[in-house]
Amino acid sequence: MINELLKHTLRLILLLFVQVLIVNNVNLSSYVNPYIYILLLMMLKVNVPKWQSLVIGFLLGAVMDMFSSTVGIHMFATTLLGYLRPRILSASLNKEDFDANIEPNIANKGFIWFFTYAASLIFVHHCSLFFLEIYSTKEFFATMQRVLYSSAVSLLMIILAQFLFFTVKPSDD
């Protein structure tokens, strides 16, 4: 338990460091603002209780809000993720995965599963985040473009990070 806590605290610091000091400073275009800090929430073990997932999401959003001079928009988006995550997991994993209490990463579940899992969560997060940021539907199509381009880049970065830290087992199943 203590080990888990330590591991996730280190992950949080590393992800915040990368997000705030590196990713936020890369100006690709005004349409591309990747957010990779949600990887922390995505990679919690599958048996983490639903309320913990919610609270962790909420706190993660609060920290991110602090670093981006915004109030509440990251909080809303990450709490939504914290709510959806256990539901997506229970719909897409089988009983053995829950019994083994695996970490939902690319090494345990393979590329295709992780790709769908990450893509759906990233899309929901970016959607709520960008629309709350502009706080109107006036620029709907421009905002939608922002969501799509940013989601694609975030997904790419998150998958690259997975390959960097885990070795993918050959997909025989």
Partner: protein, 281 residues
């Protein structure tokens, strides 16, 4: 009663979810109505410290650029010095200056954090309440406007960049008195749009745009940019003007916060007028 407890127990996750989401929405709503949540002041202290460490590190790589811009500005200021003017006054006697009362002072500040690629961009500066910075003060750099102070902590402040959907700045065409409001449309950080300029005004590409001085935030005639393109739709009463910004937001380092001594007086007068108006009719 028992049923309620069973219900609460069964759906406590969903209820917790709703509570947290409504709390976030409440904060967002408060923020948008310009009621500064104490959250942002608190977080300024935390993130400001982190950003200032990084900015220290980063500024080392930009020393040459900063030197160049400072040298330029020094040259400009030197040319405005009293000694570089020829005194055309024939009579020479001392007056207690009651005609010119100082209205603006400038607080120099360093940019700790800045973004240009989000829809709503914010800037963190290394000056705060301890240095006399208050909310709603204007921020400029040596070649143009930057934004408006949004929140302060003891040693830091957050600035609403001009590149933000909530920023609306009163500007006018330099040699004309036609004014409009300057808004960023979220695409190109070097281009803003000037709305509400009446159609009878002659607009030409390359004309200078400056601040109007109609608000208490920016003094008059601070450069904003120049007209890059303009169009007038048939049946429309107002020009749509694309303004190329003179401020380069991508490499902001040193800026000035404007302190307007008459701000409170002007604002309270305007509030008074707004309250009085309905009574007159």
């Amino acid at each position: 009663m028992r049923n309620i407890i069973v219900f609460l127990y069964k759906y406590y996750n969903f209820i917790l979810f709703l509570v947290l989401e409504f709390f976030s929405l409440y904060l967002i709503y408060q923020y948008n109505t310009y009621q500064r949540a104490s959250f942002i002041n608190f977080s300024n202290g935390v993130s400001g410290q982190a950003y200032s460490t990084v900015a220290n590190f980063k500024s080392y790589f930009r020393l040459r650029q900063i030197n160049d811009s400072l040298q330029l500005e020094n040259a400009r200021l030197r040319s405005e010095l009293f000694t570089s003017y020829y005194n055309n006054e024939i009579r020479d006697f001392k007056v207690n200056d009651t005609i010119y009362k100082q209205q603006y002072t400038y607080i120099a500040a360093k940019v700790l954090n800045n973004s240009i690629n989000k829809r709503n961009n914010y800037i963190t500066l290394n000056r705060g309440a301890a240095h006399g910075v208050k909310t709603q003060m204007g921020v400029i750099c040596d070649n143009g406007i930057v934004g408006i102070v949004m929140a302060t902590s003891e040693h830091f402040c957050t600035v609403l960049s001009v590149l933000n959907s909530n920023a609306k700045i009163s500007a006018r065409i330099a040699d004309d008195n036609a004014f409009g409001s300057l808004v960023w449309d979220g695409n190109d950080p070097t281009v803003c749009r000037l709305y509400d300029v009446n159609k009878h005004v002659q607009v030409a590409n390359g004309k200078k745009i400056v601040t109007s001085g109609y608000s208490t935030i920016f003094p008059e005639n601070i450069p904003v940019g120049e007209v890059q393109a303009h169009s007038l739709e048939a049946g429309d009463n107002f020009h749509t003007i694309k303004v190329r910004m003179s401020t380069n937001f991508s490499n902001l380092t040193s800026v000035y916060i404007i302190n307007n001594f008459f701000k409170e007086e002007m604002d309270s007068l305007e509030i008074l007028t707004k309250i009085k108006l309905p009574d007159d009719q």
